[in-house]
C-alpha cells in the first residue's frame, strides 16, 4: 500500500508536449484525444512578463468528485490511491466529465467510455514510473510514494515548496506543482 503522487516543476517544463505524446502512445489514444492538457497564463507586468505553463492531468484526488458522482461505481481508487475507471462498468453518462474541476476526463469516441490518466498503473506495479515521468526531457516530473518521508518526491515537495492545484476545493489532489 502506497499513496502515489507526482510533482510537476512547471519552471522546468519547456512545453515540448513529450509527455502528452508518450501518454497517447502508452494508452493507444488517437491524436485528438489526450490525458494531459496544457494551460498557459501570462504573469507579471510589462516589461517583466512571463508565461506560466501548467500541464494538467488527473490529479488522483484522495477525495475525487468524479468517484463520488459516478452513478455506476465505475470510477474507483485502487489500494495505492490511484483513481481508475472500470471500463466494463462505465455507461458514458459524462457526469464525471462535468464533475472534475481539473477537466481531466476524456470520453473515448469509439467506445463511449470516459477515460483519464491512470498513473500508468501497469508500469507502476512493475516498480517503474508513469511514462510521462520517464519521458520528460527536462526532468520536470517526479513520481513516488507520498507516504514515504524518505522518497524523492516527499523530500522535493518540501524542498521546492510544491503545492497542489486548487487545494481549497477539498479534493485533496496528489499532484504537486512547483510554480
Amino acid at each position: 500500500m502506497a499513496r502515489y503522487g507526482m510533482l510537476i516543476d512547471t519552471k522546468k517544463c519547456v512545453e515540448c508536449f513529450g509527455c502528452r505524446v508518450a501518454c497517447q502512445m502508452q494508452n493507444g489514444l488517437p491524436p485528438e484525444e489526450a490525458f494531459i492538457h496544457f494551460y498557459e497564463k501570462e504573469t507579471g507586468t510589462f516589461p517583466n512578463v512571463n508565461i506560466q505553463i501548467l500541464p494538467v492531468q488527473c490529479q488522483h484526488c484522495e477525495n475525487p468528485p468524479c468517484m463520488k458522482n459516478c452513478p455506476t461505481g465505475a470510477t474507483y481508487k485502487n489500494k495505492d490511491g490511484i483513481v481508475l475507471v472500470d471500463e466494463n462498468k462505465c455507461i458514458g453518462c459524462k457526469y464525471c466529465v462535468v464533475s472534475c474541476p481539473y477537466q481531466a476526463r476524456v470520453p473515448n469516441h469509439k467506445t463511449g467510455v470516459v477515460e483519464k490518466c491512470r498513473f500508468c498503473v501497469e508500469e507502476v506495479e512493475k516498480g517503474k514510473a508513469p511514462i510521462c515521468v520517464a519521458t520528460c526531457v527536462g526532468n520536470a516530473r517526479i513520481f513516488g510514494d507520498l507516504d514515504d518521508p524518505n522518497s524523492e518526491i516527499s523530500r522535493e515537495i518540501i524542498k521546492r515548496k510544491a503545492i497542489p492545484l486548487r487545494a481549497d476545493l477539498g479534493t485533496k489532489p496528489k499532484i504537486y506543482y512547483v510554480r
Binding site: 452513478p71 459524462k94 462535468v98 464533475s99
Partner: protein, 299 residues
C-alpha cells in the same frame, strides 16, 4: 460542455412530465368536471418521461453499446445524485404509467398512490436541478436556487403542455379554468424573479461564475437569453395570460369566479401562443444553463 442539447431535452421533458402529472392531480382534485385537462395531464406524463429517459440512454454511449451496464446505475446510492435520480425517475415512471393506464381504463386510483405520485413528481422536477446543482466545479450550477428554479419551470411547462394539448382536443376545456391560469401566471412571474436572483447572486460568487453570467447577459448567449428566454419564454406569456385574467375579471364579476359560464368568445389563439412560448422558454432555460456552464479556473 460535455452535456449539450440531448441532456437539455431530457431535463426539459422530465420537468414537463412531472409538471403535467401535478397539473392533472391538482385539477382532478379541485375541478372534477375538467376531465380533459386531467386526462391529458395523466396521458402526457408517462410518454414524455419515457422519451426523456430514452434520450439519456442514447447520450450514454458506452451503456448504449452494452445495455446491461445500466444495472450499475442503481449502485452508487446515495452518494451519486445520478443514482438517486435513477431511483426517483424509475419510481415516478412506474407510478405515472399506472395512473395513466387507470385513467384510460376509467378506473379510480387509490389516493395514496396518487399522493406518492405527487411526491415523486416533485422529486423528479427537483432532481433535474439537483443533478447539476451538486457539481461544485461549475459555479453557475452550484447554487441552491437552481433546483427551485427548475421546479417552478417544471410546473409552468407542465401546465403549458397540459393546457395546450387539452385545447386541441376540447376547446372548451381550459378557458374557464381561471385558477390554473392564475397559478400559471404567478409561476412565470416567480420564474423571472428566480432567474434574476440566481444570476445576480451567482454572478457575484467568483470570476468564472461572473463570466458565465455575462455570457448570458451580454456575451455569446445573450440573444438566446434575452429574446428566447426572457421575452418569448416569460414576458410574452406573462403579459398575454395576465391580460386575459385581467379582462376576465372585468367581464365577469361574480363572487365565485372560478368557473365562468358566461365566457363569451373562447380565446384559442392567446392560449396557443401562451402555452407554446412557455414550452419554448422552458427548453431554452435548460439549454442555456448547460451551455453557459464554465469550469472553475485552476490558477
Amino acid at each position: 460542455m460535455a452535456w449539450g442539447a440531448i441532456i437539455s431535452w431530457y431535463l426539459f421533458l422530465a420537468g414537463v412530465s412531472a409538471g403535467a402529472y401535478l397539473t392533472a392531480t391538482y385539477v382532478g382534485k379541485k375541478f372534477p368536471f375538467a376531465q380533459t385537462i386531467r386526462k391529458t395531464g395523466y396521458f402526457l406524463a408517462p410518454p414524455l418521461l419515457a422519451v426523456g429517459t430514452l434520450l439519456l440512454v442514447f447520450d450514454a454511449e458506452a451503456g448504449l453499446k452494452h445495455p446491461l451496464r445500466f444495472i450499475y446505475l442503481l449502485k452508487n446510492f446515495p452518494t451519486s445524485m445520478m443514482t438517486d435520480g435513477t431511483y426517483i425517475i424509475s419510481i415516478f415512471l412506474i407510478l405515472n404509467t399506472y395512473q395513466g393506464v387507470m385513467e384510460y381504463l376509467g378506473k379510480s386510483v387509490n389516493r395514496w398512490i396518487t399522493r406518492l405520485g405527487v411526491i415523486f413528481a416533485i422529486g423528479t422536477a427537483a432532481y433535474t436541478g439537483l443533478l447539476i446543482g451538486v457539481v461544485k466545479s461549475i459555479p453557475l450550477w452550484n447554487t441552491s436556487i437552481l433546483p427551485v428554479l427548475f421546479i417552478v419551470s417544471a410546473l409552468s411547462t407542465g401546465i403549458a403542455a397540459t393546457v395546450l394539448v387539452s385545447t386541441f382536443f376540447n376547446r372548451q376545456a381550459c378557458y374557464n379554468l381561471l385558477t390554473v391560469k392564475k397559478i400559471h401566471v404567478s409561476l412565470i412571474g416567480i420564474e423571472l424573479l428566480l432567474i434574476f436572483i440566481m444570476l445576480y447572486i451567482t454572478g457575484s460568487a467568483n470570476e468564472v461564475a461572473y463570466q458565465s453570467v455575462m455570457s448570458l447577459l451580454v456575451g455569446e448567449y445573450s440573444s438566446l437569453f434575452w429574446i428566447g428566454l426572457i421575452v418569448v419564454g416569460l414576458v410574452i406569456p406573462f403579459l398575454i395570460e395576465g391580460i386575459e385574467i385581467y379582462q376576465h375579471g372585468l367581464a365577469t364579476k361574480p363572487k365565485y369566479h372560478e368557473i365562468s359560464a358566461t365566457s363569451s368568445n373562447p380565446s384559442f389563439v392567446p392560449t396557443l401562443i401562451t402555452e407554446s412560448t412557455v414550452l419554448i422558454g422552458g427548453f431554452i432555460l435548460r439549454y442555456l444553463v448547460l451551455a453557459a456552464a464554465m469550469t472553475i479556473t485552476l490558477f
